[in-house]
């Protein structure tokens, strides 16, 4: 019986992970196609071409199409080639038109073009076929591309990063929501708090310098956005714990008030006069790793440790499991409830800053209905709305399941209406499966026990 029980628990615990992996495999297979390689391997391949196959004293042009993977590839190849001492290497990241301008320049300079190195989308430009016609001087020039390989669009580095960027805001706010839902509460205000935090931080930046504002001002802006939302969360939590008001109603009120405040702050307009450092939060990198990925790892790690290994983490579960029993056991129930709504507010505040940083603007109408996506991520992650149980890491998986489904459907070119329908269905099925797991297996569940 014991062995049986443990196997069941294991399957349940990892069920969501398996679902996520299955989705990744599915979308990888569906988006599999022959394409010009990218990544380290492609860089190495092209460097090898520059080093060994092209004449050293001549100009080598490294070309990438702007805003695509090929740009990153071109930049990487260029940087490495310069490092290795190929000073005649030139970089071009742009459009086919830019390429023609550069070629014109080279002809004017009467430079010798040793070869062209490119890859990814830039390799598909039609101009390559016409070079011999339009530039007889470069007729015989060698155009090198990385060898083609079979690789899914889904697993391209840029796509994986896009998934993270798409979900980072929701995933971070979902941490706060997980805590709230574990106490058997709900926080509907987070969507509006995203907008409020975004407009507060952008307004602070605008007032203290606008596009010329320093990094410190940007940090101050973000901090004021996050702290304001934390304060609002604290007040909502206070109302819920002190006066025993239903969390649904309190946070519904806060949701509308926060949205109103966001509009009042900007007079209804959006703010986009922000310095480059404003964008660094969500689009920059630290030690080569995108900030969004770092943030997710650090915050989820901290939340996981908090919930599983600290006193207050245990109290949060206890309050959700049975608030009265917890009170009679000496748990400071009021403080715990206030805490989870404050954390939810802070998380929403940070989410707002990230969202604004991602889109380089803050608008009072942004992140509409995000609270529902956040709740969906929590629920798909296996946290029960009746409280007392749930895992922060489950929520991360839940958020990624949603993001992967959306991303996969985008790659497959599925209409957004169909996507909305599918996503809704997935949420219902996830909850059904979770219920089945709790009642000890699909068969018992269907039997209605």
């Amino acid at each position: 019986m014991k062995i049986f029980g443990i196997t069941k628990i294991r399957l349940g615990d990892y069920g969501m992970v398996l679902a996520l992996l299955a989705l990744c495999v599915l979308f990888s297979l569906l988006t599999l196609k022959r394409q010009s390689g990218d990544g380290f391997q492609a860089v190495a391949e092209l460097i090898n071409v520059i080093e060994n196959k092209l004449p050293k004293e001549q100009v080598v042009l490294v070309v990438g199409a702007v805003n695509t993977d090929s740009a990153a590839l071109a930049e990487a190849v260029y940087a490495e080639a310069r490092e290795k001492g190929f000073e005649r290497t030139r970089l071009l990241v742009g459009s086919p038109r830019d390429l023609r301008l550069v070629l014109d320049e080279l002809i004017e300079e009467e430079a010798f073009l040793g070869g062209i190195v490119t890859g990814g989308d830039a390799a598909k430009w039609l101009v390559w076929d016409q070079i011999g016609q339009n530039y007889p001087a470069f007729a015989g020039v060698r155009i090198a591309t990385p060898s083609e390989r079979l690789w899914p669009d889904f697993l391209k580095a840029s796509n994986l990063l896009a998934i993270v960027e798409r979900i980072v805001v929701i995933a971070i706010i979902a941490i706060g929501m997980t805590l709230v839902i574990i106490t058997a509460g709900i926080d509907l205000s987070v969507g509006s708090l995203i907008a409020l935090s975004a407009v507060i931080s952008a307004s602070v930046v605008q007032i203290l310098g606008g596009p010329e504002a320093s990094g410190w001002v940007v940090a101050l802006g973000f901090l004021s956005g996050i702290l304001s939302c934390g304060l609002i969360g604290l007040m909502a939590g206070g109302l819920v714990s002190r006066f025993k008001l239903p969390a649904f109603i309190v946070t519904l009120g806060v949701m509308m008030m926060a949205r109103g405040l966001a509009f009042m702050t900007t007079g209804g307009f959006s703010i986009d006069q922000v310095p480059d450092s404003f964008v660094w939060l969500a689009q920059g990198r630290l030690a080569g790793i995108p900030n969004t990925v770092l943030l997710l790892l650090v915050i989820y790690g901290a939340a996981h440790v908090f919930m599983t290994r600290t006193r207050y983490g245990r109290y949060i579960y206890a309050v959700g499991g049975n608030a009265e029993a917890a009170r009679l056991t000496g748990v400071p129930v009021g403080a715990v409830v206030a805490l989870v709504y404050t954390v939810s507010g802070l998380a929403a505040g940070l989410g707002g800053c990230l969202q604004a940083s991602l889109v380089r603007a803050a608008a009072p109408n942004m992140a509409n209905m995000y609270e529902l996506y956040v709740i969906a991520a929590v629920v798909v992650g296996g946290t029960s709305l009746s409280g007392g149980s749930g895992k922060v890491l489950g929520t991360l998986i839940g958020a990624f399941i949603i993001a992967v489904i959306q991303n996969g459907m985008n790659l497959l070119g599925i209409q957004s209406y169909t996507q909305m329908f599918t996503l809704g269905g997935v949420i219902v099925i996830a909850v059904l499966l979770d219920k089945a797991r709790q009642s000890g297996g699909i068969r018992q569940f269907l039997a209605g026990n």
Binding site: M1, R309, N322, E324, A325, R327, L328, V331, G388, S389
Partner: protein, 503 residues
């Protein structure tokens, strides 16, 4: 036997060799019982003996793996609760199934409303409800919502509902667990009356005196098997029943103890809260078991909650070791070493969805914290020590506490307070719903606690328990402490009852 008319000789209910397994457990290994109209069958057994599974098989909740169920000689398959009901079987669970927000009349006819032209016929419903309640000898306000009725009244509504649906067999699961002695007597009278009407009763109870006084036959279950079927009830003693239930002989119901009473620990003066507790005065000494007797609703639990800080007193003072204390909430009481084992374990004592070790750790987390983080290994080791010393039966320390039996749940509650090093322990109905064997262990524990110099306040509806365990007894009535009996073990149930009922 087959298809013979239902005369007195044919049992109205016959269950033969019922087997039911759940994943990993064989709950029933061939249980048999029989019952005739107008008879009451006492069904007893320790928790986990299979009583509830058997009743669920009868109620159509679980379909047995094998064995037959015959109603008046006719073999039936009770595949669902509605089939069971239409066969005339009514089950009154320990937790009532009344809709709390509906009134007693609406509950009575819920699902089988009397209608005329498609509309509910209030008048005829009211009339029938009145007749039913009168026949049961209870006056119940038909317009009161059920959540505002007393437990006894709600039970009457349940019984009336069974009668309204023409039940021929009524199963009562622990019907007296939450009733006062007076209400119990009334219920027993109702049952006698039902028997005269030819209705068969299955009566499940841990209170063996009640079973002996009302049952015409007794079936004893142990570990999913029928160990005794006795039709000559007058020739059976309580001791015999207990031996059947536990499978060994118990020398005494309450273990002996030589009290060494210490100085006054807790002194209560003029403590009051509304009507519930009025002007309570008493002292609690070290090494003492102070019993509190009284009817349900006499203010015993309310008094305990005031001492624990779960509710706030209007007036009055409490001193602990000579120092005036006022507890804003239970946290402060716990810090001063007072703990309350609540009457309602499931709703107030434990977090059922969490594991045994988590419940154990909850008030003790500060002890297990090392550098901000919890040391779960230390928590586990500490709990395992209590699992051994209190003989808590768990499959693992992380077993969900809701799946433990009542006795083991109570031991988990006890373990968490012992770890907290509480030295004033308030036990509110510590043995309610707990089987005989586990009861004895809890009595032993109480004796060990006071022998170690701790103080115990023991609240119980079972007078024999209060008398058997207490050094002194306070008797409460309508919120007041009506009297104090100095020599607890020397008194009688009658003496306490006369104080609890009247001056």
């Amino acid at each position: 036997m087959i298809d013979s008319p239902a005369d007195f000789e044919t049992p109205i209910l016959e269950m033969r060799d019922i087997v039911k397994s759940f994943p990993g457990v064989k709950a029933l290994k061939g249980v048999s019982l029989e019952l005739r109209s107008g008879e009451a069958l006492g069904l007893i057994g320790e928790n986990g003996a299979g009583k509830s599974t058997l009743i669920k098989a009868l109620g159509g909740v679980h379909l047995p793996d094998s064995g037959d169920i015959r109603l008046a000689g006719r073999e039936v398959s009770l595949r669902s609760p509605s089939i069971s009901q239409s066969e005339g079987i009514a089950i009154i669970h320990q937790e009532f199934s009344l809709a709390p927000n509906l009134n007693s009349r609406e509950n009575l006819f819920l699902g089988k409303e009397k209608t005329q032209y498609g509309f509910i016929d209030y008048r005829s419903e009211e009339e029938q409800a009145r007749i039913l309640f009168e026949s049961l000898g209870m006056k119940i306000d038909l317009d009161r919502r059920c959540c505002d009725l007393t437990v006894a009244e709600q039970q009457t509504v349940e019984i009336a509902r069974a009668l309204a649906s023409d039940a021929r067999i009524i199963v009562m699961d622990e019907p007296t667990a939450a009733l006062s002695q007076q209400e119990v007597d009334k219920l027993l009278a109702i049952i006698e009356d039902l028997k005269r009407k030819g209705i068969a009763i299955i009566y499940i109870s841990h209170r063996l005196e009640e079973v002996l006084s009302l049952a015409d036959r007794i079936t004893v279950l142990r570990d999913g098997e029928t160990v005794a079927e006795e039709t000559n009830v007058s020739g059976v003693s309580k001791k015999q029943l207990i031996e059947w239930m536990v499978g060994r002989s118990l020398d005494e119901e309450f273990p002996k103890r030589n009290p060494t009473i210490g100085p006054v620990r807790l002194s209560v003066k003029g403590l009051s809260r509304g009507q519930a507790v009025q002007n309570a005065n008493f002292d609690l000494r070290g090494g003492e078991v102070l019993g509190i007797a009284g009817l349900v609703g006499s203010g015993r639990t309310e008094l305990a909650r005031l001492l624990f800080g779960a509710d706030k007193a209007d007036t009055g003072s409490v001193t602990l070791d000579g120092e005036a204390v006022e507890f804003e909430n239970p946290r402060y009481a716990i810090e001063r070493g007072i703990c309350l084992l609540t009457e309602d374990r499931k709703e107030q004592g434990l977090i059922l969805v969490h594991s045994a070790v988590e419940n154990f750790g909850l008030p003790n987390l500060k002890v297990f914290v090392r550098n901000v983080l919890l040391d779960q290994g230390k928590e586990r080791t500490a709990f395992e020590a209590y699992v051994d010393s209190l003989k808590i039966k768990v499959s693992s320390v992380s077993q969900q506490v809701g799946n433990l039996s009542g006795g083991n749940q109570q031991k988990v509650v006890l373990a968490k307070w012992l770890q907290r090093n509480a030295d004033i322990l308030i036990f509110d109905e510590p043995t309610r719903g707990i089987d005989v064997g586990a009861k004895y262990e809890i009595y032993l524990l109480i004796n060990q606690l006071v022998a170690a110099g701790k103080s115990v306040l023991l609240i119980s509806s079972e007078l024999s328990e209060v008398i058997g365990m207490s050094d002194r007894i306070l008797v409460m009535r309508e919120g007041r402490i009506q009297g104090e009996i100095e020599n607890g073990q020397g008194t009688t149930q009658e003496a306490i009852l006369s104080m609890a009922l009247d001056t």
